[in-house]
Amino acid sequence: MITTLLTGISVGGQYALIAIGYTMVYGILRLINFAHGDVFMVSGMMLIWFVSSTPITIAVPLIIVVTVVLGFLIERAAYLPLRNAPRMSAMISAIGVSYLLQNVITYLTGGQPMTYPTIPLLAKTVGIFGTKQTMATIVTLPMVIVLVISLSFLINHTKVGMAMRAVSKDFETSRLMGIKINNVISVTFIIGSALAAVGSVLYFSNYSKIVAVSGALPGLKAFVAAVFGGIGSIPGAVIGAFIIGICENLIKATPYSVFSDAFTFAILVVVLIFRPTGIFGEKTVDKV
């Protein structure tokens, strides 16, 4: 039971790191960045390749940088040109990028599962509450807490954070203030990608092999978490992710473990029926 709960919390934290990327991008662009889960997967693949030539202590920071660059380039190439197009166009572009990433990785790996390296620090087992857990399970929660606190500090107490909040409400007026919209949007993608990279290290360290579609399911679940929490809201996404991670692992501990994924999506349907805007969904106060 304790193992189930701890695993749930850590998987939830890993989903949270991905979900923040979805929710932040949605908050600012009203775009569901379908490619986000695949960026997460590419980040995992990168680590496999980098580890073959560099020590792990260098490879991990390196994949964070590379993932950030990837996220930045995707936004500039696939979403920026569509800024004034109907929202659906950017969404389709995101789906395109998602498949592009999957196909490129399938091509590069020849469709073969790739062995994910063991990160000694994360694979180490420690005893907690009388159970044996890997470090990856233990460190996720404190790590997510630290990252979320830093992120909310950035958003609520810095100039760039203020600009992000302004841009998410009103592009044109933000420009009148002298804010460079595109730079602020890039910052959003950079943060989202960096968190996804951190998430990928923690998440994939539970698996021995990954393939080109390994980002799809965690990506989808993180997206569900973001919608569940109220898309656009960072605390919402984090709480949603923990709920999904924990529930999923509780189901896995029962004889109905086959249904754990179905359960995730069933939660989404139920939540959306009763609370269409999610737990922390945007209040629709239109007093302007």
């Binding site: 100039k159 203020m162 600009a163 909040r165 302004a166 409400k169 009103d170 044109e172 007026t173 420009r175 009148l176 203030m177 002298g178 804010i179 460079k180 106060v285 007093k287 302007v288």
Partner: protein, 233 residues
């Protein structure tokens, strides 16, 4: 200070502004009056850099700023108080004020004190979310926010829209004060022609994208055509 030459603006396939030319002299209050759809907003928006004109030039302090993006126009010292206030509803009042000085790197303390002196109501509500302010307070906030960029020229799009007459009077008093005391040049567009012409040094009457009349505020107020069309007398 500001020279508009043969400005043409297309808006959704319509010639919103046709061959409009006018000057704004430094230190003055200039107003463009005209009915809805006369092209007033389009002119201000093209000066501010959020709309690109089809042809014509906009010169500011001897420099051609036609087609310059909004972020750079602010840097030159032009600010726009947009129609409908457009304050950021879920930023606090103080954050809204600070964001007006987004491009400035120097200390803002003095300017914040200045706008709080101009609008004491904002100081009381400093920590409130701007979306909870009344319409008049939001207009004050929009002006305060614009002033934070230390503009040479402040453009105002329908500042009286949807406000009670008493508040409109207050706002116009403050506009005059900012103009006289701080030397900020004002370019104002209004449907409330009476109030605007009383305040302005010089006015232009715009009709379906063309300047029909011009003169000092007093001249236009006395003009029979203006009276009939805009003052309801």
């Amino acid at each position: 200070m500001l020279k508009i030459n043969n400005l043409n603006i297309n808006y959704g396939g319509i010639n919103a502004v046709r061959d409009v030319s006018f000057d704004v002299e430094e230190g003055s209050i200039i107003t463009l009056v005209g009915a809805n759809g006369a092209g007033k907003s389009s002119i201000l928006r093209s000066i501010a850099g959020v709309v690109t004109p089809k042809s014509g030039t906009i010169e500011f302090c001897g420099e051609n700023i036609t087609g310059l993006p909004a972020e750079q126009v602010v840097k030159k010292g032009i600010t726009l108080v947009p129609e409908g206030r457009r304050i950021f509803p879920d930023l606090t009042v103080l954050e809204n004020i600070r964001i007006g000085a987004y491009l400035r790197k120097d200390s803002l303390d003095e300017d914040i004190k200045w706008v709080y002196d101009l609008f004491p109501r904002l100081k009381e509500r400093s920590w409130q979310m701007a979306g909870t302010l009344s319409g008049g307070e939001q207009q004050m906030l929009a002006v305060a926010r614009a002033l934070m960029s230390r503009p040479k020229l402040m453009m105002m799009d329908e500042p009286s829209l949807g406000l009670a007459p008493l508040i409109v009077r207050d706002i116009f008093t403050i506009i005059k004060e900012i103009n006289k005391q701080n030397g900020v040049t004002i370019l104002l567009i209004e449907q409330n022609a009476n109030m605007a012409l009383k305040t302005a040094d010089r006015g232009y009457v715009l009709e379906t994208g063309v300047i029909k009349l011009e003169g000092t505020g007093a001249e236009l107020l006395a003009n029979e055509e203006v009276k009939k069309a805009y003052l309801g007398k």
